[in-house]
């Protein structure tokens, strides 16, 4: 019996680049057709890129996206295709065109619209109300989109009841640590409980704060993995599915338990649509691949690399400049930048002050040598001294305080932005999540720049990343001295972070509980932390919302990042204790 050859185009789209995305889609479709694939799928909103946000309010944008969809449909001779695009009939729909042999067979409209976390889909879209099964040759295939498949009692169940043997889900599922395990467990369950193949296709690449990790995957009706895609890279994932397996299994072989809760809504009516018969080219052997998957630290590092690369390149830039202090944060950012853009596109800038230790200056230079990047030195002493003189008459008789500390940081911000403006490179900032959470960062100073690579990485994880990166090289690209010295902003004599903050091993779990898990003060104290310390930390977090609102974007890597994921008021008199 013949198998069903499915191709999942795990591509990296660019938001707004209708021409570029369409060309890429057509190229991948050609490749799949040459392999004799029965069906090729493209990610959610492949034509527009994801998420297009308020571009969707431009009617010309939506019209042009539909035109591109029709171009792709016309190019689908000899194959069937599932293509994410924006449908409209007055309201807009997050949709999938089902193309067959050059004709548009159907448009599926996403039924479950996420409107939580980073998602605002109810701002833009109306839900669909049909979820048919398509007869493609002898195969019965249900199509749905992203969130649709996360619902136990949803489109998948309806499609199964209409005879689906294979569910194809096209997604744009943003990365965060640990998500892949939850996702793959859900997909295995969805396959086995419905006794269907589930082919899950995810977008890959970075868009502003989001990174999509790819990692497409196909499960068989027993929930076992048939095929996987790489994390964080473009790929055409092709697999021959023995759909006969579904026909030969009886319900008792699987764990179907989905009839406990009724499916409600108009979309629950089973429906079958037959696609035209296609004369495929003969199937040729599927090229072998070695999909890349990462461990828990490695996937974070890979996310930072692709997020940084895509932000810089998709913004039309090539080069970046980074202030290297000799500390661990700027060191890991430089390593990420080199891996993302190549050493020749990364410039380090050392901006020592009267408070910089010799060790830090040396560590920064050693790092730049290890990474093979250009290093420039711009001492800030003269600019700092002249600024102090300029302010002398106004500050007369007052003790030095954070004003003078921030002044140094902002002079550095000013000088590196001048380098950026002069040489057309983007500034990468180096603050980590622990610092930005408690406001231990200078707005317009070290926070000044285009992209904040590690803004969602807690300090303790920064150390893990540094060791991971050194492990990749097999030697200490990031000097060991950087890993072992106490963290310091070096803005006054003998300063260390722990003068004003708890040790990061204590700070980070408090921050996770408060920022990511909405724990109350009592909840956090119950985890074993000192009440006064927790009060201090949550007060700092609440008071620095204004800084975060003016921070550059950076890669989301935790379940909740600062940005559109956590929308706190700036004016906020709630006292959580």
């Amino acid at each position: 019996m013949s198998t069903f050859r499915i191709a999942l185009a795990q591509i990296n789209t660019v938001v707004g680049d209708l021409d570029g995305n369409t060309a890429k889609v057509i190229d991948y479709m050609r490749r799949a057709r040459e392999l004799g694939a029965d069906l090729i799928a493209f990610p959610e909103l492949a034509i527009t890129g994801y998420p297009p946000e308020d571009l969707l309010f431009k009617s010309k944008f939506v019209e042009e996206n539909k035109k591109r969809m029709h171009e792709v449909v016309a190019a689908s001779k000899g194959i069937s295709a599932v293509l994410g695009f924006v449908d409209s009939d007055g309201p807009l729909y997050n949709a999938a065109a089902i193309a067959c042999d050059g004709e548009l067979a159907h448009v599926y409209r996403k039924i479950y619209l996420p409107n939580y976390g980073v998602f605002d889909e109810e701002r833009y879209f109306k839900p669909g109300n049909r979820c048919p099964v398509f007869k493609i040759g002898e195969a019965s295939v249900g199509i749905n989109i992203c969130e649709d498949i996360w619902h136990t009692v949803g489109p998948t169940v309806v499609q199964k009841s209409a005879g689906a043997e294979l569910i194809v889900n096209i997604s744009a599922s943003p990365f965060y640590t640990g998500k892949i395990e939850a996702r793959e467990e859900m997909l295995a369950t969805r396959a086995s409980e419905n006794c269907v193949y589930v082919a899950y296709l995810n977008l890959v690449g970075g868009q502003d704060e989001l990174v999509f990790d790819g990692a497409s995957i196909i499960h068989d009706p027993l929930g076992d993995v048939v095929e996987i895609g790489s994390q964080f890279q473009e790929e055409l994932v092709v697999s021959d599915l023995d759909l006969g397996m579904v026909r030969n299994l009886v319900v008792g072989d699987t764990q179907i338990s989905v009839n406990e809760e009724p499916v409600v809504g108009e979309f629950c009516i089973p429906e079958v649509i037959s696609l035209a018969k296609i004369q495929h080219v003969p199937k040729v052997p599927i090229p072998s691949r070695s999909p890349t998957r990462y461990d828990a630290v490695g996937e974070v590092y890979a996310a930072l690399v692709i997020g940084t690369r895509d932000y810089v390149l998709k913004s039309g830039f090539k080069k970046v400049v980074i202030a290297l202090s000799g500390g661990i944060d700027s060191s890991i950012v430089a390593a990420v930048a080199v891996d993302a853009l190549g050493a020749s596109n990364v410039t380090g800038v050392s901006m020592p002050s009267r408070y910089s230790s010799e060790g830090s200056i040396n560590d920064a230079h050693q790092l730049s040598k290890n990474l093979g990047i250009e290093m420039k030195s711009i001492p800030i002493e003269e600019a700092f001294a002249s600024s102090l003189r300029t302010l002398e008459s106004h500050f007369h008789g007052l003790e030095p305080d954070t004003a003078e500390e921030n002044l140094q940081s902002r002079i550095r911000g000013n000088l590196i932005m001048a380098m950026s403006n002069k040489f057309g490179s983007l500034v990468l900032t180096t603050g980590n999540k622990s610092e930005i959470a408690v406001g231990y960062a200078t707005i317009y100073g070290d926070m000044a720049g285009a992209y904040a690579v590690i803004k969602d990485v807690p300090k303790t994880m920064v150390y893990d990343l540094a060791r991971y990166r050194n492990g990749l090289s097999g030697h200490d690209v990031i000097p060991e001295a950087v890993l072992i010295k106490p963290p310091s902003a070096e803005l006054r004599p003998d300063q260390t972070d722990q003068d004003s903050l708890p040790p990061y091993e204590i700070l980070d779990p408090i921050l996770t509980a408060y920022v990511e898990e909405d724990c109350s003060l009592d909840d956090i104290v119950a985890l074993g932390f000192d009440r006064e310390m927790v009060q201090q930390v949550v007060t700092l977090v609440d008071r620095s919302e204004y800084k975060r609102r003016q921070a550059p974007p950076g890669v989301k890597i935790t379940p909740r990042n600062f940005g559109r994921d956590r929308r706190m008021p700036i004016v906020n008199q709630y006292k959580p204790f």
Copy 2:
């Protein structure tokens, strides 16, 4: 026949300040009871402040808000009350407690949840499914919340069908120019088409980027205005309503046409709930008021004043510092600051450079004298010269360009932030909407600060505001020279804004069409503008999204501001032409 005395507590709440908001609610309830009011209403989410945003994800916050609601209910002896709070039974609801004589009679849950523009209510709330009418003494009163009343066929129709004579709508309706006319026309229509009184209560005050303008209003069943509240100030609006008017009118007297479209959803079942009989104190004469309403320019100015005042005071600050360039933008911001906070809380800083004209320096000093504010002078020449020397070896042989221009602006940003840090005052920035739209502003330079007062005011409207403010004083607080000289950033010799931008009279309507109305290039050209110029402008707008994302908040005064109202991707390769 006895009248129904309604009291609308048009109060200024603070987001998160559960204690403060509750105390204010109880105080206004006491005042209404002493007047012998039958019913007092409080704004939408009065307990939490509006919008509480992701504070809603803290279960302790929601619990505490419910506790405060019950405190208010317990304090409602001798009166009935409608109180906005967050209800929860697992999911959350934007709700109104209906209290009567110390008991909780009912909880109404908002049915229509706005999820567009600045609103994200579907992120937080589930819709309600009941909209009863309450018998309060002899009166039949329907309660609904904000968006509910904007729907022709919605809760109001259902409540009318259950016998409502009066609809009380509690709102938090953010201000923008012209909204009040649309709102009052809608309310008059809703009253007359349903042949009911409509008492509309709106929140007042500023919260981050939003300003709520109050302007509560009561219409009778013919759509005529019975009573109004002031714009932009706290007030207890009290009115005696002759509900017999509803009983005496027959349907033919009004323009009811609402049965054309059926009401759908569970909430369409008419329902009546009788509240307990209350022994009121005898009605005493209603204190006379002189409600304040503004003209089109005046309401913008008043919005800027209350927005600035509330941002500063609700953040726990008292004083502000403003860079005064002698230009019209910083002049109007200084005037707003003085009207918001008092002259003694405003400090002007003049930061002249080698390119500052004598006229500008004099104009800034004259303005500070006229406003009675302290003025400090911090020349930037020494800091600029030393920064140039610091960068000399790196910039050697390269022509001066925007790097040097931005350097000056950022030195000013740095110095004024040092003043802010040293003296504990907030920096108000002075950029207008036209500049921030096209990116004619220096990030970390003149954009550096806590609150961007006129960031949503187009440049042409800045002139209107200056003339309006001078008109209020009866003399030129803002010197005439400031109004007539050509706008210039003074960052290089003989620079004017019009070197790089179209005249503002042309730029502003292009920006309105593109930014606020999503017009395509062709649409804008069809309005009579040069195609090449429009292309230049929209390209500038798209390219400067990254700057806006790091801009401070400022008062929303147009139908669409930059901020949560316009969510554009930063990485965006869409070419609108």
